[in-house]
C-alpha cells in the first residue's frame, strides 16, 4: 500500500525522521519496502506557486498561448504554454529558469533553459504533473488550490514522503491509514486521533425511506447504510484528489472518491448506490440465482451462481457483495440520492467469488482477510459526513444497522509465565501493559482467572486469537533485537540413522572424485522429451495446472534431462569430454496417496577421454565408450564395498551387445550401456557415442547394507605371476572365465589384459590374455607347484569353455 505521510499526519503526530519511522515499522512487522519522496528535487526558489494573471494568444501558433504569471514579489513572467486548460485566475506550479524538471522531449531530468518557441522567447514554464514527476498526465497543467500562497515553494504544498508498505495476510488493518497510524502510535508513544464523523441528520428517518433485508446472514454478518439526498455529484476537491493519487488511486467523482478515501482510512470497503435506481427502495442481500446476470462497474457482464452473494433491489442484482457494484445502480452526474453501504461479508465466500470471476478488487481483497464488523458503522458515518461536506445534501436521520453476525470482541488471557515460556525472558508487567495499551488493547475483568491479564483486542485488529498472538505483539513492539539470545539448553535428541542420505552423499563424492560433474535438472518434463528419450513407461503423473507444456509431467526417468544437458553442453565441452551425473528423484505413480519417489543415479559419458595433452596427444583423440562408463560404475561400487556382476542385457534405448545390467546378489540395481543412435539423433547428439548408467539407489542400498567390511590378513608369502592367452568362442563372457579361474585355491586374482580377434585367431573365436596371480597363505609356492596348478586350470578351462591355450609365459 502507498502511505503518504501527509495523510498519516492527520491521525498521529510524526515525530521521527521518515527513514527512522520506516525502520521501526519494518522491524515491527509492517515492512516499508520503499520510500518515495515528492518534491525533494524542487528547489524552493525555482519551483513556486504562480498566479495566472491573463492568457494571451500566441501570435504565430493557434495551439500555443501566452499566460502571464505572478510568481511573487511583484515579478510577472510571460511564457509559452501548450496546455488547453490554462486560464486566468488559476494558481499553478511555475518553474523558473534553471529548475530541475523532467524534460518531456529528452526523457531526462535536466535544468530548465530559456527556449524560443515559434518566435517567442519563453523563460520559465507552467508545469504539468509529468514535468514535476508526480504523475503521467502531460495534456494539461496542474491546477493548485486557490488558497495556495503566491511565490511560496511548491514543495511546501505538494511535497510529501510516501511509504510503500507490504502487508502480510494476517494484518488487513495495515491496509489502512488508521491501521498504520496505530502502528506508528505504538512505536512512538503517540496517541491516534480518529477522524471526525459527526454530521447533522436533517432528513426523515432512514427506516421510512429505505428497507434492508439480509436474506443470507451466514454470508453477510453486518449491513449498515445511510441515505443522503440532494447531493451534487462532481469532481472532488483538489486535496481529496491529491490524497487518492498519492495513495495510488484514480479520482473519479466526489462520491466515489469519498468511498475510496474512507476505505483507505478505515480499511472498510463502502459502496454508494444511486438510490433513484433502486427499485421499491429495497435492498436485499441474497445469494445469486443460478445464471443470474450482472454488469459490474468495469462494464463486464458476469454470469453469477450461488453461493455468490449479491446486493439486490426488489427485482435485480445491483451489486456483487464485497467485490464490485453494479452498473445499473452506478452513481453518475445526475445522481441526487445516495444509499451508502458499509457492510461485512464472509471472507471465504468473498474469496471464492472473486477467484471464480477473476475479479480481485480493493474491497474483495479486504473482505477475504476477515475485517472486523465493528468497522462498518464507523466508516459509514465518516463517509456520510464527508459526502455532506463535499457533495452537499441532507442525511436521513439514523442509519440502518443489521447485525446478525454479532459476536463478542475477541479476548485473550495472557500470563507472565507464558511470555517467559515463549520468549525466554521475563518482561516486567508494567512494560507489558504499556505496550499493549499503546496498541489499543483494553484490560477486562476475567470471571475465572486471577493471575495475568484479560485483554480485549482493539476493534481494528482481526488477527488476535490466542495468547501467543499477544506475546508476539509485545515482542515486536519492544523489538525482536531486544530479546535475549541463548543456545538450546536441552540435550540433543536421539538420532535415527539416515542410510539413504549417507548413500547419496557418498555416491556424489565418489563420482566427483572419479572425474564426474554433478548436474541438477528440473523434475518436470515434457511429452516431447519423454517421447524423444523413449521413457514412456510407466505413464507419468501430470500437472493439473501446468505452467507450460515444457513442464507438464513428473519425470519417471532422468534420461531425457541428461541427454538434454549433454546436448546443451556438447559444443563447448566435447573436446574435454563430458562426464556428467545426477542424483535426483523419479516419481513413480502408485495407487497410494502419494507416488513412489525413488532416488536415482544417472551418469553419462561422451567425447574425448582426456583433454588434449602434449604428453599423450593420441589419448586426447580417443572417444569414450562403454568401458569408460563401466569403469566409473565399478569404481563407485567397489568404493561402496558392493560386489556387482555385469550381465549382458537388452534395453530399448541402448545398443544391443553394448548394454549390461548391474546385478548385486539377486537384484538388478541398474544398467550401463551405449545409447542407441536413433535416440541420440533426436537430441542432436550425433558426433560421438554416449554411454549412460542408471542405478536405482534404494535397491543399491539393500546391497550396501548387506556388505560387511571385515578385515582379512594379507598373505606374508610372495606372489607368482603367470600370463596365459586363451582362444575361446567369441560369445564366452570373460567374467565367466575369470570367476572360474578365481575358484582355484592358489589363485589370488586374475586380470584380463589383452583381447584380440582376427589374425591367426579363427573366425568366431577370440583370444583373451590373462595375468594370474598365485599366492598361498601358508608358504612360498615353488615354481613346480604353480606349474601344476596352472596345468590343472588350463585342463579344466578346456573342458568347461573349450578354451585352447594360445601362449603362455
Amino acid at each position: 500500500m502507498q502511505v503518504p505521510l501527509s495523510w498519516l499526519k492527520k491521525y498521529v503526530p510524526i515525530t521521527l525522521p521518515p527513514r527512522e519511522l520506516a525502520h521501526r515499522l519494518t522491524m515491527g512487522g509492517v515492512e516499508v519496502g520503499g520510500i518515495g519522496e515528492i518534491g525533494t528535487s524542487w528547489e524552493p526558489d525555482k519551483v513556486v506557486v504562480g498566479h495566472v494573471l491573463k492568457v494571451d494568444p500566441h501570435p504565430n501558433a493557434d495551439r500555443l498561448r501566452l499566460p502571464t504569471v505572478d510568481v511573487g514579489n511583484g515579478e510577472h513572467i510571460t511564457v509559452v504554454c501548450g496546455a488547453p486548460n490554462v486560464a486566468a485566475g488559476q494558481k499553478i506550479a511555475f518553474a523558473k529558469e534553471g529548475a530541475r524538471l523532467f524534460n518531456t522531449h529528452s526523457g531526462h531530468i535536466e535544468p530548465l533553459r530559456p527556449a524560443n518557441i515559434r518566435g517567442f522567447k519563453s523563460v520559465g514554464m507552467v508545469c504539468s504533473v509529468l514535468e514535476l514527476g508526480i504523475g503521467d498526465d502531460h495534456t494539461g497543467i496542474l491546477v493548485l488550490p486557490d488558497e495556495s500562497e503566491i511565490g511560496s515553494p511548491l514543495a511546501d504544498i505538494l511535497g510529501d514522503v510516501i511509504f510503500e508498505t507490504e502487508t502480510t495476510p494476517n494484518r488487513p488493518d495495515c491496509l489502512s491509514m488508521l491501521g498504520i497510524a496505530h502502528e506508528v502510535a505504538a512505536h512512538t508513544g503517540q496517541a491516534v486521533t480518529e477522524p471526525d464523523a459527526d454530521y447533522p441528520e436533517d432528513d426523515d428517518p432512514i427506516e421510512k425511506q429505505a428497507t434492508v433485508e439480509i436474506a443470507d446472514p451466514d454470508l453477510c454478518y453486518r449491513y449498515t447504510a445511510s441515505l443522503i439526498s440532494g447531493v451534487k455529484v462532481g469532481p472532488s476537491p483538489q486535496w481529496l484528489q491529491d490524497a487518492l493519487v498519492k495513495a495510488g488511486q484514480r479520482p473519479i467523482n466526489n462520491v466515489v472518491d469519498i468511498t475510496n478515501y474512507v476505505m483507505l482510512e478505515y480499511n472498510q470497503p463502502l459502496h454508494a448506490f444511486d438510490f433513484g435506481k433502486v427499485k421499491e427502495r429495497r435492498i436485499i442481500v441474497r445469494q445469486a440465482r443460478k445464471g443470474e446476470e450482472l454488469e459490474t462497474l468495469d462494464g463486464v457482464k458476469r454470469k453469477l451462481s450461488p453461493p455468490m452473494l449479491v446486493i439486490a433491489d426488489a427485482s435485480d442484482a445491483i451489486g456483487l457483495a464485497g467485490v464490485m457494484g453494479g452498473a445499473n445502480s452506478e452513481v453518475s452526474d445526475g445522481t441526487t440520492t445516495i444509499l451508502l453501504e458499509s457492510a461485512n461479508f464472509d471472507a471465504v465466500n468473498t474469496r471464492r467469488t472473486a477467484a471464480a470471476l477473476k475479479l480481485s478488487t480493493g474491497a474483495s481483497y479486504r473482505f477475504e482477510r476477515s475485517i472486523r464488523a465493528e468497522l462498518a458503522p464507523l466508516a459509514l458515518r465518516r463517509a456520510t459526513k464527508l459526502i455532506l461536506d463535499i457533495a452537499g445534501g441532507k442525511a436521513a436521520k439514523g442509519i440502518i444497522d443489521h447485525y446478525p453476525g454479532e459476536k463478542p470482541a475477541p479476548t485473550v488471557h495472557l500470563t507472565r509465565k507464558r511470555i517467559k515460556q515463549v520468549l525466554g525472558t521475563d518482561i516486567p508487567p508494567d512494560k507489558v501493559e504499556s505496550v499493549l495499551t499503546s496498541l489499543g488493547f483494553t484490560k477486562k475483568k476475567s470471571s475465572t482467572k486471577n493471575d495475568g491479564l484479560h485483554l480485549e483486542a482493539p476493534y481494528w485488529r482481526s488477527d488476535i486469537a490466542i495468547e501467543d498472538d499477544v506475546v508476539e505483539e509485545i515482542a515486536r513492539i519492544i523489538g525482536y533485537d531486544e530479546m535475549p539470545t541463548t543456545t538450546i539448553a536441552t540435550s540433543i535428541p536421539h538420532h535415527a540413522p539416515q542410510p539413504m542420505w549417507e548413500l547419496k552423499q557418498r555416491t556424489r563424492d565418489l563420482l566427483a572424485a572419479a572425474g564426474m560433474r554433478e548436474i541438477v535438472t528440473y523434475s518436470l518434463t515434457s511429452q516431447a522429451t519423454i517421447e524423444k528419450a523413449e521413457t514412456l513407461e510407466p505413464k507419468p503423473l501430470a500437472m493439473a495446472n501446468p505452467m507450460s507444456a515444457q513442464f507438464q509431467y513428473l519425470r519417471t526417468s532422468l534420461r531425457g534431462s541428461m541427454l538434454e544437458t549433454l546436448a546443451t553442453n556438447w559444443h563447448t565441452s566435447l573436446r574435454d569430454g563430458l562426464r556428467l551425473f545426477e542424483v535426483s528423484r523419479v516419481y513413480m505413480p502408485t495407487k497410494a496417496d502419494l507416488p513412489d519417489e525413488r532416488e536415482t543415479l544417472i551418469g553419462a559419458i561422451a567425447g574425448r577421454r582426456l583433454p588434449l595433452s602434449w604428453l599423450a596427444k593420441e589419448l586426447g583423440e580417443v572417444d569414450m565408450g562403454f568401458f569408460d562408463a563401466k569403469g566409473v560404475v565399478q569404481s563407485l561400487l567397489s568404493s561402496l564395498r558392493i560386489e556387482a556382476a555385469f550381465e549382458p542385457s537388452e534395453n530399448n534405448a541402448l545398443l544391443p551387445g553394448r548394454t549390461a545390467s548391474i546385478v548385486c546378489g539377486d537384484h538388478t540395481v541398474g544398467i550401463v550401456g551405449e545409447v542407441h543412435p536413433r535416440i541420440l539423433a533426436r537430441f542432436d547428439l550425433t558426433e560421438t557415442p554416449v554411454t549412460i548408467f542408471e542405478i536405482d539407489l534404494p535397491k543399491l542400498l539393500q546391497s550396501a547394507s548387506a556388505a560387511s567390511r571385515s578385515y582379512a590378513t594379507a598373505s606374508r608369502f610372495p606372489e607368482s605371476l603367470r600370463d596365459i592367452a586363451l582362444v575361446v568362442d567369441s560369445g564366452v563372457p570373460s567374467s565367466n572365465i575369470e570367476a572360474f579361474v578365481s575358484q582355484h585355491k592358489m589363485v589370488q586374482r586374475v586380470t584380463p589384459f589383452d583381447v584380440f580377434t582376427g589374425g591367426d585367431v579363427p573366425t568366431g573365436k577370440k583370444s583373451i590374455a590373462y595375468e594370474i596371480v598365485f599366492q598361498s597363505e601358508k608358504d612360498t609356492l615353488t615354481s613346480e607347484q604353480v606349474g601344476r596348478a596352472l596345468e590343472d586350470i588350463l585342463r579344466r578351462l578346456q573342458k568347461e569353455f573349450g578354451a585352447e591355450l594360445r601362449s603362455q609365459s
Partner: protein
Amino acid sequence: MTAEDASSNISDLQSRALTELETLQDARRLEDWRVVYLGRKGKLTQTLRTLGSLPPEQRREAGQAANRAKTTLEEAYDNHLKTLEEASFATSSTKGRLDVTLPGWPVLRGGLHPTTQIVREICNAFASMGFQVVEGPEVESDEYNFEKLNIPKDHPARDMWNTLWVDYTGIQDEHSVLLRTHTSPMQARIMEKMDSKPVRVIVPGKCYRYEATDATHEWHFFQVEGLAVDKGITFADLKGTLYEFARLVFGQNRKVRFRCDYFPFVEPGAEMSIDCFLCDGQGCRVCKKTGWIEVLGAGMVHPKVLEGVGYDPSVYTGFAFGMGMERMAMLKHGIEDIRLFYSNDLRFLKQF
C-alpha cells in the same frame, strides 16, 4: 710363518686394498672390491685363517692387527660408497633438464553442483548444533503442505504459495495432491512420527512454485527447513541458534537482525537478516542500499500446529525456520541470476 710376516702381510693387504679403492668409480666395482677384500671368502678372511699356525701369544697380536685392518677397510669402504653416491646424485641432478612450464598430465576433476555444496554446508552447520538431516516427499498432500500448517483452504495466506497441483484424477479423485511449495510439511510429518518426543532436525529438499522465472525467481528450488521442539525451547534459543548458523556460514563477524514477519505456522514469526558482507553494511546493490540482507524466515511453532500433531503446546514449545538454498549460494558466490542453477551450463558449474 712368523708374527712379523703375518702383520706385514696384513699391512700390505691393507695398503693394496686402499690404493685399489681410490681408483674405483662405480658402485658395481666397489661391490666387487668389497667381496674381494672384506667378503666371507675375501682376502682378509683368508689371511686370518693363516694365523692358526702361530703360537697363541702371537696369534692374538696378529689377530688384533687383522681386526684393525678390517675396521680401517670397512670405514674406507663406507666413505668411498658415500662419495660415489654423492657423485652420482650430482650427475643425475644436472642431466635431462625439463621445461617445467609445460602442463602436467591431465587429472580429471569432477565436482558437485553448487546447490549440493550449499545444502551440505548448511546441513553441516546445523549438524554441529545437534540437528539431524531428514528428508521427505516432494509430492505432497494439501493436508501436509497447508492444512496441518494452520493454512486452511480458502485462507488468504495461501496466496503466499502459488501451487502446482498434481492431476490425481483416476487415482484418488478427491485427494488433493501438489508439489510441495516449501519443506515445512515435514514439520508435521516428523512430529507425528516422533510422537511427543523431542525433535531437532534439518530438512533439505526440492520445492516448487507456480511462478514465472526471472533473475531472482525460479519455480524449482531447494529449501532447508529446521525444527527444534522440546520442553523449554524459546524464541531466545531460536535467535541464538540462527545467529550461530549465520556465523558458521557467512563468517564469524556477522551481525544478525530479526524483524517481525508472518507465516501462518509460527507465532511469533520472524525474518532474519545478516549485515551485508559485500559492503560491510555500508549499502550496495545486493542489499538494496539497506546494509542488510534477508536470509530466512522463522518463528515459534504455532500452538495449533503442535496440537494438530499431538504435542501439548502448554508443555512443548519449539522453533522452525526455512531458507532458500539458491539465494544462499547466490549471496556467497555473487551469482546474479538464479536461472543459472538448473540450466546446467558447464561453464557455470565448473566454477564450483
